[in-house]
Symmetry: C2
Subunit: 207 residues, 2 copies
DNA sequence: TCATGTTAGGACCGGGTGGTCCAAAGCGCA
DNA sequence: TGCGCTTTGGACCACCCGGTCCTAACATGA
C-alpha cells in the first residue's frame, strides 16, 4: 500500500465524513490529497465506488483499533470494558468536535436504500461490531440475569449509540451524547444480577 | 395551497425519502409530479432549497398527526400512551416496508454538517418532538421515580428510536426495530416507581 | 541501459445540475 | 370582453459530474 494511496484514502475519509459520499466529488478528493489531476487519481482507484468501499474499510479498521479493541481487553472485567467502550465512543465524537458523526451511520442513512453494494458492507460492519459485544456479553454471563438476550441487547446498544451521535450532531451539543451514554449504561446495569455491587461505574449521576 | 403545490410536495417527499435530498434532482421531482417543465416547477417554488424546507415541514406535520398525536390522547394513561407511540413508530416503519427510514434522521445525517439551514430546522423538529415526550413524562410524574430526568429520558427515547430505524434499514429486517422497541419500553419501565404493576404492556417477552 | 511505476498536466466526453427566460395557450371570473 | 393566474413546452446558461485518453517528465532498481 503506497503512501499516496493512503493519502488519498485519508483525504476522502475526511471529506465523506463532512459532506457525505454523493456530495464528495472525485475532484474534491484530488484537491484534498493534492494530486496533480484526474489521471493521477485513477491510477490508484478504478472508480469512485471502489474508493468509497476502501474508505469504509479503513474507517472500520480505525474504529476496531481505537474503540472495539477495548471490548477485548482480557485483564478488565467485561462489564467495565463495555462501560469503557461507551466512554470511548463519546471521546471519539468529542475529538471530532461533535461534527462528522459516525461514518457508518452516515453512509447507512445516505446509501442504505439507494446502493446495495454499500448497504451490505455497512451491514457487515454493524454485524462485526455486534458480534464483539455479543461475545463480551457471553463472557459476562455469570454476572448477568439468565434471561438476557445478547443479540437483542447488542443491537440495542449499537442503535442507541448511533442515534445518540446523530442527535448530538444535530444539536451540536456533546452533552446530549454524554447523557444518553450514561442512560445506556444504566440500562445495561438493569441486566445485572441483583446483589451485584455497582457494576457499571458512572451509570448513575445526572451530570 | 393549490393542488399542484401539494402534489409536488408529495412527489418530492417520496423521492427525498428514497434517495436523499442531494441525490434528488429538480428534474426528478418534475417527472414524479408530472409537470410539464422546469418553469412550471419554479412557478411554485423559488428554489430546490425552499422545496426541501417545505417537504420537511410537511413530513413533521404528518408525523404529528399520525405519531405524536398518540402522546396527547387525554383518556389514556400517559405511560401507556408512550408505549402506544413506540408501537406507532414501528407500524409507520413497517408500512414503508423497512425502507426510507426516518425522514428527519435521514436529512440529519445527510445535511446536519453541510447545510445550516436544514440543521436548525431538523433541530427544531427534534425539539418539538422531545417537548411532547417531556410533557407526557411530566403528566406521568406521580408514577415515576423522583429522580427521573425528563429532558434526558426524552432524548434517550428519540435517539434510540432513530438509531433503531436506521439499523432496521441497513439490516432490512423489521424484527430489529421490534426488539429495540421492546427493550426501550423495558428501559422506560425501570423508571416507574416500585410496587407499580406492569406499567408498560409488552415491555417483557423476548419476541 | 532499459523497464517499470509514479507524478504531472491538460484536453476531452456525454450527461446531469440548479436555474432563467420567453412565447403562447388555456382558464375562471368580474 | 378582458384580466390574471395557471399550464405547457422548449431553448438556453454556466457549471459540475465521473471517467477516459494522451504525452511527457521523473525516479528506481535490475
Amino acid at each position: 500500500m503506497s503512501d499516496r494511496r493512503t493519502q488519498i484514502l485519508d483525504a476522502a475519509a475526511m471529506l465523506i465524513a463532512e459532506r457525505g459520499y454523493t456530495s464528495t466529488s472525485v475532484d474534491d478528493v484530488i484537491r484534498g490529497a493534492k494530486l496533480s489531476g484526474k489521471s493521477h487519481f485513477y491510477h490508484y482507484f478504478r472508480s469512485k465506488e471502489e474508493l468509497g468501499y476502501e474508505v469504509l474499510n479503513r474507517q472500520f479498521e480505525r474504529f476496531t483499533e481505537r474503540g472495539l479493541a477495548i471490548l477485548r481487553e482480557p485483564m478488565i472485567d467485561p462489564l467495565e470494558r463495555l462501560s469503557l467502550f461507551i466512554d470511548a465512543v463519546v471521546t471519539l465524537q468529542a475529538e471530532r468536535g461533535g461534527r462528522g458523526g459516525s461514518p457508518f451511520g452516515n453512509l447507512a442513512a445516505e446509501l442504505a436504500d439507494a446502493h446495495e453494494g454499500f448497504r451490505v458492507r455497512i451491514e457487515a460492519v454493524f454485524e462485526r461490531w455486534a458480534s464483539q459485544i455479543r461475545s463480551l456479553l457471553w463472557e459476562a454471563r455469570p454476572q448477568l440475569q439468565d434471561d438476557v438476550d445478547a443479540v437483542r441487547l447488542s443491537r440495542f446498544i449499537i442503535a442507541t449509540l448511533e442515534g445518540a451521535v446523530l442527535m448530538t450532531r444535530v444539536k451540536r451539543d456533546l452533552a446530549v451524547l454524554e447523557g444518553i451514554a450514561a442512560d445506556l449504561k444504566r440500562f445495561i446495569g438493569t441486566h445485572v444480577r441483583d446483589g451485584g455491587a455497582v457494576a457499571l461505574p458512572g451509570a448513575r449521576g445526572a451530570e
